[in-house]
């Protein structure tokens, strides 16, 4: 992807250098994924199943490639993208505070706050036309998520309450508040249900293909392809994140606070203000993710949110994506593909869909343990052309504190 832009420059750098840079950037996440798949294969083999058929089915279900048992590739790709959309936006919501040295474990609660606000507004003003109502529910969701995260930001900045603890607690509050709302509370559809009534038609995000049962596309009714306009909103959110971080003063301040609060304060940056603003923005991303999910897919609050894990998967997505916008989008697509592929793997290869959770955990484990960095240190061919040492622990990598002397592992 990056090679195209570099090729167009008047003085193209040596290809070997470009390749090295790309390889250097991708080595850690790709290595972690490869590690996870190899260990996953060993686990499958140890249980007496065939890892090749497992991964073939996973590829079919996640990427629509090589389907042998009648799966529709277009449908599988569509499902994978639908799963990836909320991961992109919440991934950004985890990565941004990470740059400021904050661990936002509360993306799930912020997502729930966003989906609650989206649903409440979408029901209350259900008769309004789309041009008014759709922006209302999306902005409402973002604001709700922003306020939810802002609580943790203010507590951190004023009394120093650790954001890990406060955001986790806020997750529980959001989840139980949601339970109350749809079981016995004001949003409950009817007695004996655990769902809300649907949002008005004007609050719903359109699908890319017409939602028609009679129009046949790729051999199936068009309505089965659920990819919605929220995809573009999520990509825009990722782009906004990159712009904010690298092209604005605030982004500079966020990175400065993440590297060293003392240095940032010395340079005239208000650390408190930066922490609060960072959490507010991160919460807005998460809240938007929740609003998009309601407006684009679910159209009402259901009990599925009791066991929703999007905001936690987002932590893995942000880590795997090394906190960069492009990386997060790619990691979210991978996780979406794994999610969609898990079901097909169970159907076609008879291997429990739980293997997907094992793979996700292994990826995260590998990143945290930084196997790839340790291995690279042992291989001189790999090490020589690299300008910044890639062996820094990932948390440091993402906060840019990974200057050469802090890369403590494996050196």
């Amino acid at each position: 992807m990056g090679t195209g832009a570099i090729v167009a420059r008047p003085q193209p750098p040596r290809l070997s250098r470009v390749v090295n840079r790309v390889v250097g950037g991708l080595a850690m996440p790709l290595g972690s994924v490869v590690f996870a798949f190899v260990v996953g294969a060993l686990i499958v083999a140890a249980t007496g199943e065939n890892p090749f058929s497992a991964y073939a089915a996973l590829a079919c279900g996640g990427l629509g490639i090589g389907c042998t048992q009648g799966e529709n590739p277009a449908l599988q790709i569509s499902n994978a993208i639908v799963f990836a959309i909320p991961l992109i936006t919440t991934g950004v919501a985890v990565a941004l505070p990470f740059r400021a040295g904050l661990f936002n474990i509360g993306a799930e609660g912020q997502l729930l706050a966003g989906s609650i606000a989206c649903t409440a507004i979408g029901i209350e003003f259900r008769t309004l036309p789309e041009i008014v109502l759709l922006p209302m529910v999306l902005v409402g969701g973002a604001v709700a998520g922003s306020l939810w995260a802002g609580v943790a930001g203010v507590l951190k900045a004023t009394v120093g309450a650790h954001e890990v603890v406060t955001t986790i607690m806020m997750n529980y509050i959001a989840q139980w508040f949601l339970r109350y709302l749809i079981i016995g509370g004001p949003l409950q559809l009817a007695a004996g249900t655990s769902r809300s009534s649907p949002i008005g038609p004007g609050a719903q995000l359109a699908t890319l293909l017409p939602a028609s049962n009679s129009l046949i596309i790729f051999g199936l009714p068009a309505s089965v392809y659920r990819v919605h306009v929220g995809l573009f909103l999520a990509l825009a959110a990722a782009a906004a994140f990159a712009f904010l971080l690298w092209r604005t003063t605030l982004g500079y301040e966020i990175r400065a606070v993440g590297q060293s609060q003392k240095a940032a304060r010395y340079a005239g940056v208000s650390v408190r203000r930066t922490i609060i603003v960072t959490m507010l923005i991160a919460g807005a991303f998460s809240g938007l993710a929740g609003a998009i999910q309601i407006a684009g897919v679910d159209h009402n609050l259901t009990d599925k949110f009791f066991s929703d894990t999007t905001g936690f998967d987002a932590i893995a997505v942000a880590l795997l994506g090394l906190g960069s916008a492009v990386g997060i989008v790619l990691a979210a697509l991978l996780f979406g593909a794994l999610h969609a592929g898990g079901s097909v793997m169970q159907q076609d290869a008879g291997i429990s869909g739980n293997l997907v959770l094992v793979l996700q955990a292994l990826i995260l484990f590998s990143i945290a343990a930084n196997f790839v960095g340790a291995i690279r240190q042992q291989i001189p061919w790999f090490r020589r052309p690299m300008a910044p040492p890639p062996a820094a622990p990932v948390a440091a990598l993402m906060t840019e504190a990974g200057a050469p002397d802090t890369g403590s592992t494996g050196i």
Binding site: T3, V7, P12, L15, G64, I65, G66, C67, Q69, G70, E71, N72, P73, A74, L75, I77, N79, F83, R179, I183, G184, L189, A190, A191, G192, T193, S194, R195, S197, P198, N213, F218, G219, L220, P221, S223, V224, R226, V297, H299, N300, T302, D303, K304, F305, F306, S307, D308, T309, H339, A340, G342, S343, V344, Q346, Q347, S352, G353, N354, L357
Partner: protein
């Protein structure tokens, strides 16, 4: 030179991917001569090891595999987001019958059955509904419903009689039920339980609590513990996998418990009986109807009279008079002389 090669590589990769993506599109709809019926089963988030209705639906499918020689495939839903993709996947592959398990899948079955009018759907505990919970009455959907109150009444007789006769630990005239979410299939059970216990022992107090959860045992455990500390001698769990925690709480406190849906004798030593909802029978019946070309949309109801509901005695030896009363009540429900209510009596 190197750049050209890189570009070429990218181009080839892209062409390959498009080719692969398009290659598999026209595989559905082919019919083989000696027809093997294909049945797909989608569990709800409880999963196959819930010792409850997902497990029983799978038992019914396995029976159908042996007896009816069908091809049966199962997929577990990990989250509520999986319902529609999992149902759609089976339907798009031209399965003859797609079975959704559980009340929570109603709207998903409603959506997907509308997209695939030529595929048969069966849904346990619900119907193919719209977002407002109204039955869409699709002609390719059959609802498999149960009179859970029949099974609830049988275990209610046991709990009520034992408490009345002072066979329990505390004997404060209190028994209880732990529901998952307050939805019709849960409340049917509790209605029959309370009705029958009150019939046997008019002075009995029946506590009813909800965990608002079907999967997390710790949530049901805490509901059960508060009921036990308020004097309950028998805890009836009606909460799927979550309710296993209620059974454990009863075991730890030394009081009795009652399992639900499947025979949960092995779940905990405190289980004295289980209220049975024979989802396996219902699943098998639905598959058999499709194989015999007798599929009918609408509702199939399973109760004590047709063997679709009942009870199992577990880690207990009942006094003779309790057993006699059980047999009498069962006979009267079968004959229609007694009708357990489907809403929880006051």
């Amino acid at each position: 030179m190197g750049q050209t090669r890189l570009r070429l590589f990218g181009l080839v990769a892209a062409v390959l991917m498009i080719g692969m993506a398009c290659g598999g599109t026209n595989t559905s709809g082919s019919s083989s001569p000696g027809k093997t019926y294909k049945i797909g089963l989608v569990t709800d988030i409880g999963g196959l090891n819930d010792m409850s209705f997902n497990h029983l639906a799978d038992v019914g499918l396995e029976q159908a595999k042996t007896k009816l020689h069908i091809q049966g495939d199962v997929v577990e839903s990990k989250t509520g987001d999986d319902y529609i993709p999992n149902l759609t996947n089976f339907a798009s592959k031209g399965y003859d019958l797609v079975i959704g398990v559980g009340f929570l899948m109603g709207p998903a079955v409603g959506t997907v059955s509308g997209q695939f009018p030529n595929v048969h759907f069966a849904i346990i505990d619900s119907a193919g509904t719209d977002a407002n919970g109204n039955d869409l009455m699709h002609t390719n959907v059959v609802s498999l419903l149960f009179k859970e109150q029949d099974a609830g009444a049988m275990v209610g007789v046991i709990a009520g009689m034992l408490e009345k006769e002072g066979k329990n630990k505390k004997n404060q005239g209190v028994i209880s039920a732990v529901g998952g979410v307050s939805i019709p299939p849960v409340n049917h059970y509790i209605a029959g339980y309370k009705w029958a216990a009150t019939m046997e022992d008019p002075g009995i107090k029946v506590q009813v609590g909800y965990s608002n959860d079907f999967t997390d045992p710790s949530k049901c455990k805490s509901v059960a513990q508060s009921q036990i500390s308020a004097g309950s001698d028998v805890v009836f769990q009606v909460a799927g996998g979550c309710g296993l925690g209620a059974l454990q709480a009863a075991g730890q406190a030394g009081v009795s418990s009652i399992g639900v849906d499947a025979d949960q004798k092995t779940a905990d030593p405190s289980v004295i009986a289980s209220a049975l909802k024979k989802v396996d029978v219902a699943t098998f019946t639905a598959i058999q109807d499709v194989v015999n070309n007798q599929f009918q949309s609408g509702v199939l109801t399973f109760d004590i009279a047709n063997g679709g509901a009942g009870y199992a005695l577990d880690n207990v030896t009942l006094p003779a008079d309790v057993q006699a009363e059980l047999d009498k009540v069962q006979g009267e429900i079968k004959s229609g002389a007694l009708t357990p209510p489907d809403t929880i009596p006051a």
